[in-house]
C-alpha cells in the first residue's frame, strides 16, 4: 500500500501546484482586462452614493480580494480566499457565491459527460477488438478510417449536424435546454422523461465524438497484446478460446482505463460547445456566459474548477491503474 500512498502524495503535491498556477493565471487575467472592471466597480458604487470604504468592502466580497493596495497584496488576498473556497460572488446570479453557482451548474455537465463517455467506451472497445482481429480485411479498414474520421472531427461539428438532422430537419428530439419547463421539477415521470429525452442528443454527441478514439486505442492495444508471448503460450497449453479471449481483453483494456479517467476530466473542459449548442446550463455554458456578461469572478472560478477536475481525473486514473494492475501495486517488491 505504501507504493500507492507515495504515488498519491506526489500527485497531490503536483496537483496543488497546478491549481496555484491556474489560480494565478485567472487572477492576473482578471486584473489585466481592459478597463479594469475591479476599479470600475468601486467607482460605480461610490457614484451610487456608497462610502469609499463600504464600496471597497463590497468589491472585496464580489471578487474575492481587496481592490486596494499593491498588486501583490491583492494577489495574496485572493489566494488566501481560495483556501476557504471563497471565489467571490457572481454579479449575474444576484450576488450568489461563485462556489454555489458552480455547484448548480456542475450537475448539468457531469451527468451527460459521464453517460456519453461510458457509452462510447463500451461501444468503442467492442468495435476496437473487432477492428484488431479483422485488421487486414475490408471491415477493419472501414472501422479504422471511420474511427480516425470521427476522432478527428470536432465535437461542435457533430453536435451541429445531429441537432440539424434530429431537431430541425426531422424534429424527433429536443435540442433546447435540459428539460421542458412544463414539468414540475421533482421525482415524477413527466419530468424525468423530459430530462432523458433532452439528454439524448448531447449524450450521443459526446459518445460519437469520443468513440473513434476508443476504437483506435483499443485496436492498437489488442494488436500489441496479440503479439505477446503469453497469448501464444496459452494457445500451446490448449487453453479454451473463451479463456484466451478474456486474457486478451483484460490485458488490452488495462491501459485504456487511464485514458478513460483522463478523458472524463478533459471533456468537462470541452463541454462548452455542446452546452452552447444544446443550451445546457452546465459549466461550459456558465464559463461562456460569464465572459460575455463580464462576470469575471465567476469566469475565474469556472476556469479553476474545470482545471481542478482534470487534475483530479489524472489522480484517479493513476490510482485506478495501480489498483487493477498487480505490477504497479507491488511495484516495490519488483525493485527489491
Amino acid at each position: 500500500m505504501t507504493v500507492i500512498a507515495r504515488r498519491l502524495a506526489g500527485h497531490l503535491a503536483r496537483g496543488i501546484v497546478m491549481i496555484l498556477v491556474v489560480a494565478t493565471i485567472s487572477f492576473f487575467i482578471v486584473r489585466s482586462i481592459p478597463g479594469d472592471p475591479v476599479a470600475a466597480n468601486v467607482q460605480k458604487l461610490i457614484e451610487q452614493g456608497m462610502a469609499p470604504e463600504a464600496a471597497e468592502q463590497a468589491t472585496r466580497v464580489l471578487y474575492g480580494f481587496q481592490p486596494t493596495g499593491s498588486l501583490w497584496q491583492q494577489y495574496t488576498d485572493y489566494m488566501a480566499g481560495l483556501l476557504t473556497f471563497d471565489l467571490g460572488q457572481s454579479v449575474t446570479h444576484a450576488g450568489a457565491p461563485v462556489t454555489q453557482v458552480l455547484g448548480e451548474a456542475a450537475k448539468w455537465t457531469v451527468l451527460p459527460v459521464l453517460a456519453g463517455t461510458l457509452l462510447s467506451f463500451l461501444v468503442g472497445i467492442i468495435l476496437g477488438v473487432y477492428a484488431a482481429i479483422k485488421r487486414t480485411g475490408k471491415l477493419g479498414d472501414i472501422l479504422a478510417i471511420s474511427g480516425s474520421l470521427l476522432h478527428g472531427v470536432p465535437q461542435y461539428v457533430l453536435g451541429l449536424l445531429l441537432s440539424a438532422i434530429f431537431a430541425t430537419l426531422i424534429p424527433i428530439l429536443p435540442a433546447d435546454g435540459p428539460v421542458d419547463i412544463l414539468f414540475e421539477p421533482g421525482f415524477n415521470a413527466g419530468y424525468i422523461g423530459s430530462l432523458v429525452e433532452h439528454a439524448v442528443l448531447p449524450v450521443v454527441t459526446y459518445a460519437l465524438a469520443a468513440y473513434g478514439g476508443w476504437i483506435l486505442a483499443m485496436k492498437s492495444s489488442v494488436v500489441t497484446v496479440l503479439g505477446d508471448d503469453f497469448i501464444l503460450a496459452a494457445e500451446l497449453r490448449g487453453m479454451k478460446r473463451s479463456i484466451i479471449f478474456r486474457y486478451i481483453a483484460r490485458n488490452a483494456i488495462l491501459p485504456l482505463f487511464t485514458i478513460l479517467a483522463l478523458s472524463l476530466g478533459l471533456l468537462l473542459g470541452g463541454a462548452v460547445f455542446i452546452e452552447r449548442i444544446f443550451n445546457y446550463p452546465g459549466l461550459g455554458l456558465l464559463l461562456l456566459d460569464s465572459i460575455t456578461m463580464r462576470d469575471y469572478a465567476l469566469m475565474g472560478g469556472a476556469f479553476l474548477l474545470i482545471t481542478a477536475a482534470i487534475i483530479v481525473a489524472n489522480i484517479i486514473a493513476d490510482l485506478f491503474y495501480s489498483v487493477i494492475d498487480p505490477r504497479v501495486r507491488s511495484g516495490e517488491e519488483v525493485g527489491a
Binding site: D228, D229, F230, L232, A233, L236, R237, G238, I243, P326
Partner: protein, 332 residues
C-alpha cells in the same frame, strides 16, 4: 488408458512462410524419430528452423507460416498435422507439454499462477481441481520451490529460474508424456541453467517422458540428450546418438560447430568460429546443399543437388548424415 512415453515419427516435414517474395521454406523435408522414453536435442543457430520444427509438433506454426507437406505421427494421437480445432486444442497441454524460452513471458501478467493453473484445468475438463492444485504443488516442490507461495504469485514476482520451473510444471501437470522445451536455459545464469537441466533429466526419468529439447547451445545437449540432431538452413544435416555425434562428427557443419566451442582447458585460439553467416529465410539456397557457401569441402555437385540423408546403424543407434563429401569419401 494408462499413458506411457509416446514415440514420435516426423516424416517429410516442410514448413513454409508466406513473404512478399513468395512462400519460402523454413523447414524442409525433415525426417526425425523420437524414440519413446528418450531425450532428443535439436541444435542450430537462430534462423535454422529449429523453433519452427518444435511448433510443428503441436501443429502450431504461426501465420504467415504453414505446414505444407509431411506428417508428425505421435503415438496415441495419430498425425497431428491432420488435427483441427478442438481435437488439436485438447492434444496441446494434455498430450504434449510445451515449455517456453525462459526469457519469454509465458504467463498472463495480470493473474496469479494458481488462477492460470485453474484456467488450464477448466480448459481441459479437469473435474478434480483441488487435485490438480495438489499435483502442481507437488511438482513445484519436487523442483525445489515453495509450491503454495508460487501458486499465489504473479509472474513479475518470480525470477527467471522460477518462471522456467513454473513453465515445466504447467507442461506436465495435465500428465502429458511428450514434452517440448524451447531454449529452456537461454537467458538464465550458469547455476540456474545447471539446476534446470538437472530437473529436466530427473523429471524425464521419474515420469517416463519423451522429451525434445531445442537449443543453440551444444553444451545443453551434451548435458541432457540421448540423441542429437543438427539443423542448418531448415535442413536436418546430421543426427545420431549424442556421444557419437559429438565424439566423431561427420558433417562439416557439425565439425565447425564443435570446433567453435572454447574449452576451459587449453588454448583459447583453438576455438575457431565458423566463417560466414547462417542463411536467413530469404537467402537460403533454393536448390543444392544449404551449407555449401560456408563449407570447406564444397564440390560441384553441391550447387545443384541437395544431399540425401544417408542412414547407417551405429553402435548406440542409427546415425544419419546429409553431405555429398562424406558420402563420396566413404565410397572411395
Amino acid at each position: 488408458m494408462t499413458k506411457s512415453a509416446p514415440g514420435v515419427r516426423i516424416d517429410g516435414l516442410t514448413v513454409v512462410y508466406k513473404t512478399p517474395a513468395g512462400e519460402l521454406p523454413a523447414v524442409r523435408d525433415v525426417r526425425l524419430t523420437l524414440e519413446p522414453g528418450t531425450i532428443t536435442g535439436i541444435v542450430g543457430e537462430s534462423g535454422s528452423g529449429k523453433s519452427t520444427l518444435a511448433l510443428s509438433l503441436l501443429n502450431a506454426v504461426q501465420p504467415p507460416g504453414r505446414i505444407s507437406a509431411g506428417s508428425v505421427e505421435i503415438d496415441g494421437l495419430g498425425d497431428v498435422v491432420g488435427l483441427r480445432n478442438e481435437q488439436l486444442r485438447k492434444a496441446r497441454g494434455k498430450h504434449i507439454g510445451y515449455v517456453f524460452q525462459a526469457a519469454q513471458n509465458s504467463l498472463n501478467p495480470l493473474k496469479t499462477v494458481g488462477k492460470q493453473l485453474l484456467d488450464l484445468g477448466r480448459s481441459h475438463g479437469v473435474n478434480d481441481l483441488p487435485g490438480l492444485v495438489r499435483e502442481a504443488r507437488e511438482l513445484l516442490g519436487r523442483m525445489g520451490l515453495d509450491g503454495a507461495r508460487v501458486l499465489d504469485s504473479h509472474q513479475h514476482e518470480l525470477s527467471g529460474g522460477m518462471r522456467q520451473r513454473v513453465g515445466i510444471m504447467l507442461a506436465l501437470v495435465l500428465n502429458a508424456h511428450l514434452v517440448v522445451l524451447d531454449e529452456p536455459t537461454t537467458a538464465l545464469d550458469m547455476i540456474t541453467q545447471a539446476n534446470i537441466l538437472k530437473i529436466v533429466r530427473e523429471v524425464h526419468a521419474e515420469r517416463g517422458l519423451t522429451t525434445l529439447v531445442i537449443t543453440h547451445d551444444i553444451g545443453v545437449v551434451a548435458e541432457v540428450a540421448d540423441r542429437l540432431a543438427v539443423m542448418y538452413g531448415g535442413r536436418l544435416v546430421e543426427q545420431g546418438p549424442t556421444r557419437e555425434v559429438l565424439g566423431a562428427p561427420r558433417h562439416p557443419y557439425t565439425k565447425g560447430l564443435i570446433k567453435a566451442i572454447p574449452r576451459l582447458v587449453g588454448d583459447i585460439d583453438e576455438a575457431q568460429a565458423l566463417p560466414g553467416r547462417p542463411p536467413t529465410l530469404a537467402t537460403v539456397p533454393a536448390e543444392g546443399c544449404v551449407f555449401r557457401e560456408r563449407c570447406p569441402l564444397r564440390m560441384d555437385v553441391c550447387d545443384t543437388v541437395d544431399p540425401e540423408a544417408r542412414v547407417d546403424a551405429g553402435a548406440g543407434g542409427p546415425r544419419a548424415v546429409a553431405c555429398h563429401a562424406v558420402t563420396v569419401k566413404e565410397h572411395a
